[in-house]
Symmetry: C2
Subunit: 418 residues, 2 copies
């Protein structure tokens, strides 16, 4: 039963993807606009379905935070619709010829962006991902197979039905948006191995979900997720700037992957910077600080940091601090403990800025800016599918182009190979 549902929906998505690939930009954008309209027009149905998820969630004892993520209101549905309209306004990456050249034998070879085909998205609680992921895939000419969390199943079913119908009404093929309705976990296991129907899988959610997919999928996966990010404050740094960046990177939104987890400070400025900065972090922002012995020697109230702390992505108002001798020790620390997500240096020294940019291996490396900028919207992509922490296909914030692949188009006049 589970297998039948997953297989048949994935097969339908594959069939639809063939038509999707040749759909004009105008039709795809129009589909997004109609989807947005229908979401708003039929928000009653969505809110009704969402109430069922909410009441089941309360019965199952979901936390207030999770219940809040699950909740859909008129306002939130309007935001989802606005998101679709924004995607419709973005330039279409499909069909763009990235480069084109001529060979000595006269062959003209171009590299053109084309849809990937079928994208599988496996995600957790938030029902807005259903709209967002479907919109981004449709924009880029892909069919999509969605597998949301069981907590949001009623909301997801209502949303998927509405946006599917809307897309078809605007000219998209039947079947381009598929939602797996069974909440049986086996569905994920099947989906992960459907290489004949699914071209790429993008898991969105917690580390557990992502690792399950990375470990078990035979379909190529784009890994997103863990960010154990650092800010290194050099001895040659504008300390006011350093303070602002550290506070922003730690506290502006501590629960996300591009927030700073460990502050590294050059020993020559530790005494100048830390007492005041850590005090502010504690008093004004409620940050718990865990420091190395040198930090503790400067500020008595700081807790002791364990080696484990330096490996931890707190995703919380907790900050690890370490005083280092120089940029090399800072980069060694980042190499050992980091997850290659976002790393920043604060310095006024040209050579150290260059060394940090070149030698630190991460998806995003910053000089004199907050790590919090690692984000598709902040980078100006106008959309974000996630932040890739792997090195294949996409690294860092992923925009529309990352949902495409390329094909070579070759123009000849009878060339044969000698």
């Amino acid at each position: 039963m589970v297998r039948e549902e997953v297989m048949s929906k994935a097969a339908k998505a594959r069939e639809a993807s063939r038509v999707m690939g040749s759909l004009s930009t105008a039709v795809r954008d129009q589909a997004l606009l109609v989807m947005a309209e229908e979401l708003v027009d039929r928000s009653d149905e969505i809110i009704e379905a969402n109430k069922m998820d909410m009441s089941k969630g309360r019965e199952r004892g979901l936390s207030t935070a999770l219940l809040d993520r699950l909740l859909l209101t008129e306002g939130r549905i309007n935001e989802m619709a606005e998101g679709l309209r924004a995607i419709a306004m973005l330039p279409d990456p499909v069909g763009e010829v990235i480069s084109m050249w001529k060979r000595p034998n006269g062959l003209q070879i171009g590299k053109m962006r084309v849809p990937v085909g079928v994208i599988g998205i496996i995600y957790e609680a938030r029902p807005n991902v259903t709209v967002d992921a479907a919109g981004l895939c449709l924009k880029t000419g892909n069919a999509v197979v969605l597998r949301g969390g069981s907590e949001a199943i009623c909301s997801n079913k209502a949303i998927a039905a509405i946006i599917s119908e809307a897309a078809v009404r605007a000219g998209a093929p039947e079947g381009a948006i598929q939602l797996i309705e069974t909440t049986d976990r086996e569905a994920v296991n099947i989906l992960m191995k459907l290489n004949q129907y699914i071209d790429i899988l993008i898991p969105r959610g917690g580390a557990g979900l992502i690792q399950t997919v990375v470990r078990n999928a035979t379909v190529p996966v784009i890994e997103t997720g863990v960010g154990n990010c650092h800010v290194y404050v050099d001895n040659e740094a504008d300390l006011e700037m350093a303070k602002a960046i550290v506070i922003n990177a730690k506290t502006q939104r501590p629960g996300v992957c591009n927030a700073m987890e460990t502050l590294l400070v050059n020993k020559d400025v530790a005494g100048l910077l830390l007492p005041d900065l850590l005090d502010t972090l504690r008093k004004d922002y409620g940050v718990e600080v865990r420091g190395c012995p040198a930090t503790k020697a400067l500020i008595s109230w700081v807790n002791e940091a364990s080696d484990e702390d330096y490996f931890t992505e707190f995703l919380d108002l907790i900050l690890a601090v370490r005083v280092v001798d120089n940029i090399d020790e800072a980069m060694d620390h980042i190499y050992k403990y980091g997850t290659k997500h976002s790393e920043a240096i604060v310095t006024t020294n040209y050579n150290k800025a260059r060394r940090f940019l070149n030698e630190v291996d991460a998806a995003a490396v910053y000089v004199n800016a907050s790590t919090r900028f690692t984000d598709g919207f902040q980078y100006g992509f106008g959309a974000e599918i996630g932040i890739s922490t792997q090195k294949l296909h996409a690294r860092g914030p992923m925009g529309l182009a990352e949902l495409t692949t390329t094909k070579y188009i070759v123009f000849g006049e009878g060339q044969i190979r000698k």
Copy 2:
């Protein structure tokens, strides 16, 4: 024992990769040149080792073809050295900033090519892959873990020792080129799951090897391989050009992935084209032809093609033929039976050329040229790691750029996120 060897070598490669990433272009190119020199200077050692492989191969009853692939001579070693010198001459992709832009808040964001880190290559008999793969990885600032076939183990050990020593002498870090020496198959199973040490895996060899890796690896894989390629001859086509392209695509080197396997011919020109063309293919090139009923009605000696034949990558002097009503039927056939590798149309009609280029989903799509051009050297890349048949990261012939990833480098002056 096996696990220890694989783990410790992969860990050493990981350590070396950190240094590799910051090595200058000059040092990496110099290492390639010294490697080439040493291969030639120490060719006696290689040939001696190769003799052991050859005699074991004969004992094990390897086919003449396999023995020939295994054999190393002075000439072949010189070719391997020449290959390294050619790689040294190519432009360095590492450090290239592909694009750079400025955000309204003043942040300047660039996308820079950087080495992937550690690349695992799993391959079969030919010992020249040891040199080629190591050279390409070193050129692009990557460390490499090589796992060759057991038939070539003595040759591979000799070669790896020589090129490793040479690379270190030229300034590369110890451990950047690792060869797994155990021939235990378990080594491959371990390698495929070493996500902490290996960034990408590239299997090179037969379909069995590639599928094993795709099915079992947790490390991201670049899939290369199967090509069930077609040429469609339209009713509006230069039939002399069509003949030349068909003969070239089928016979110039039938055993490779970009060779044509099925010829599709428009019904209006089948009678004009096929009798003479198929006769030539049979008589002059020894091609066995398997045709549809319409083909058989035209040419009595043609064997009957089964549905299975249309799915088959013959890699041999066998050609399947099908007469189709029009371009749509041709594209439907390609969609159903093809492997999205290389597809060609022969036509003089502008609209059909455009439709074929846009609607056929394959790594390379040709108008009026042989499918045999799908190749890194033919495309002008100066190198080829393989031809990717997947859609993630790389599709089609892979040059040096495909052995790199990117990182975002961000220049700020104190920007924080609001």
